[in-house]
Amino acid sequence: MPILEVKNIETVYYDRLYVLKGVSLEINQGEIRVVLGPNGAGKTTLAKSISGLIKDQPRKGDIIFEGRSIARKEAEKISSMGLVLVPEDRGVFPELTVEENLKLSGWTKKDTWVFDLFPNLYQKLQEISNHLSGGEQQMLAIARAIIKKPKLLILDEPSLGLSPKLTNELFKTLKRLNEELKTTMLIVEQNARVSVEICHYGYVMENGKMVFEGKADDLKDNELIKELYLGGSVKKTEKGWKLYKTRRRW
């Protein structure tokens, strides 16, 4: 039985802007699944809708987490059930120290296992989070999220603003997290190259709809995904260019 089932949800902003138009997905225990898509596809809205961060949304459909409906529930209740989101802007509290950031999610001095995954943070426990580099802030945001040992971790654009080297390191750590702690993850990303490498299953989202889904290998082998998300060359045919230029590629 999947740990999370998103059933045909619709999220609407200001009563007229349909951002999610019947999105469905599911995640099994211990899996890493990735949602790919261009800017404005609705990926962040999907992550926020699942986490309860958009009031009274999704308007239609249902979200089942561990057999219980969590659609339209308050974010803090969903978080206490074990579904934790690392938001797009990392959400590090800039004026608090690294230790204070960690303590807010229930970290105690006994939880040294976090530093096996993120050794840099141990060196900077007393530093103000605002003084950390972008990569370290992302590490802190993830460390803070996994302290509670969540049943499902949703990461919204974890590679945002990171250099390719740091992105690779971060995704290696996420892979370790999945293998060693068996953390189930849903990664919402634009960086298909790194995310496809670590995921078990993937979705492609455009204009508020899931347009493609398949196992990691299916994603890697798909010609259009290769062209549009994995840096492959665009076919020099009239149809190829048309597909590339228009928003409705699928």
């Binding site: 986490s51 309860g52 961060l53 308050e74 974010a75 803090e76 978080s79 206490s80 934790v84 989101l85 690392v86 938001p87 802007d89 990392r90 959400g91 590090v92 509290f93 800039p94 004026e95 608090l96 204070e100 303590k103 807010l104 999610s105 001095k109 007393q126 945001a141 803070r144 999220a145 509670k148």
Partner: protein, 324 residues
């Protein structure tokens, strides 16, 4: 050999400890001795000014907990101050001085929770305007309800004692509320306030109950202001609605900005500034507000972190000596 220059924290209790080591204890004891001897060192005029600063700093700390730590801009403090003062003036005959002071705080905090509800939907300037409206409402109610405000004659408050006794009473409350304030900001509640200020989304994803924490912040803040209002009533021995005009809220806000937003010590420094500085120019009569305004502009321009920021810079300068 590596010299240990920073005292490492080894226990969470360290975070809550007000007096961390022997030098801090000596400093704390010295400050207390100085405070206790103030009535013997200063004239009646300056004793009165210092009492005013002390009680004002309680209200400013309350507002700083709301604005500086939780990030909720409120101009409703004049209203809470008035509620505290008038509750005290009416209840002191029945309950006595000390219980009435706490009751004043409690009544103000009930109103604080009510005023806090808009904060669940409003932010920044919109919340500021909504809370400013509350101050206006309280002022108008007092102006037009002689049964509460005592009408044209105002409302007299029973005398607590001599100026020195009032000073010691205010000082005791100041100590109590500053220690409590320090503990609050160091506790998980205080950190949750800061988390809400910095990122509501991230705070929610960590399981922090935003509604509860915002209302709690309003309740604590208005409790502080209500108690300050009661002490103000004791200090003035007389109340009239004009003492609680909306400019009081703006002055308190100025004290926070000048002292240092989100700083316990800054609340005291800001209070000293807004109460004591006009005293230095008192001989210039109508020029006082102009000079005061210019001084505020200069402080904000040259020390954006407030007087607390200046204090930190001075402290760091001496800590780093001789490596400058």
């Amino acid at each position: 050999m590596i010299k240990k220059t920073v005292r490492m924290k080894t226990d969470y209790l360290d975070d809550y400890r007000l007096i961390a080591d022997l030098p801090a204890l000596v400093f704390f004891a010295l400050v207390t001795v100085v405070f206790i001897s103030i009535p013997f060192l200063f004239s009646e005029l300056w004793l009165s000014v210092i009492t005013h600063i002390a009680l004002y700093s309680i209200a400013v700390l309350g507002q700083n907990l709301l604005i500086g730590y939780t990030g909720l801009i409120s101009f409703g403090q004049a209203g809470f101050l008035a509620i505290g003062a008038y509750t005290f003036a009416h209840s002191v005959h029945i309950l006595g001085f000390i219980p009435s002071i706490f009751i004043s705080g409690l009544i103000a905090s009930v109103f604080g929770v009510i005023v806090g509800f808009p904060s669940l939907r409003l932010k920044g300037p919109y919340l500021a305007i909504a809370t400013l409206g509350f101050s206006v409402v309280v002022f108008q109610v007092l102006q037009n309800t002689p049964a509460i405000s005592g009408g044209r004659m105002g409302l007299s408050v029973p005398s607590f004692g001599s100026k020195a006794e009032i000073f010691y009473l205010v000082l005791a409350f100041c100590y109590l509320f500053y220690i409590a304030g320090y503990k609050i900001v160091k506790s998980s509640i205080g950190k949750s306030f800061s988390a809400i200020r910095d990122s509501e989304v991230a705070a929610e994803t960590l399981g922090i109950n935003i509604v509860k924490m915002k209302l709690l912040s309003f309740a604590i803040s208005s409790f502080y202001t209500g108690v300050a209002g009661a002490l103000y009533a004791i200090y003035m021995k007389y109340l009239e609605p004009n003492m609680f005009f909306i400019t009081e809220s703006i002055l308190m806000f100025s004290a926070i900005v000048i002292g240092g937003i989100g700083s316990v010590l800054g609340s005291i420094l800001g209070s000293i500034f807004v109460i004591a500085v006009p005293q230095f120019f008192v001989g210039m009569k109508e020029l006082v507000p102009i000079i005061f305004g210019i001084v505020i502009v200069l402080v904000v321009m040259f020390e954006p972190l407030g007087l607390y920021g200046r204090w930190i810079k001075i402290k760091l300068y001496f800590m780093n000596l001789p490596f400058r």
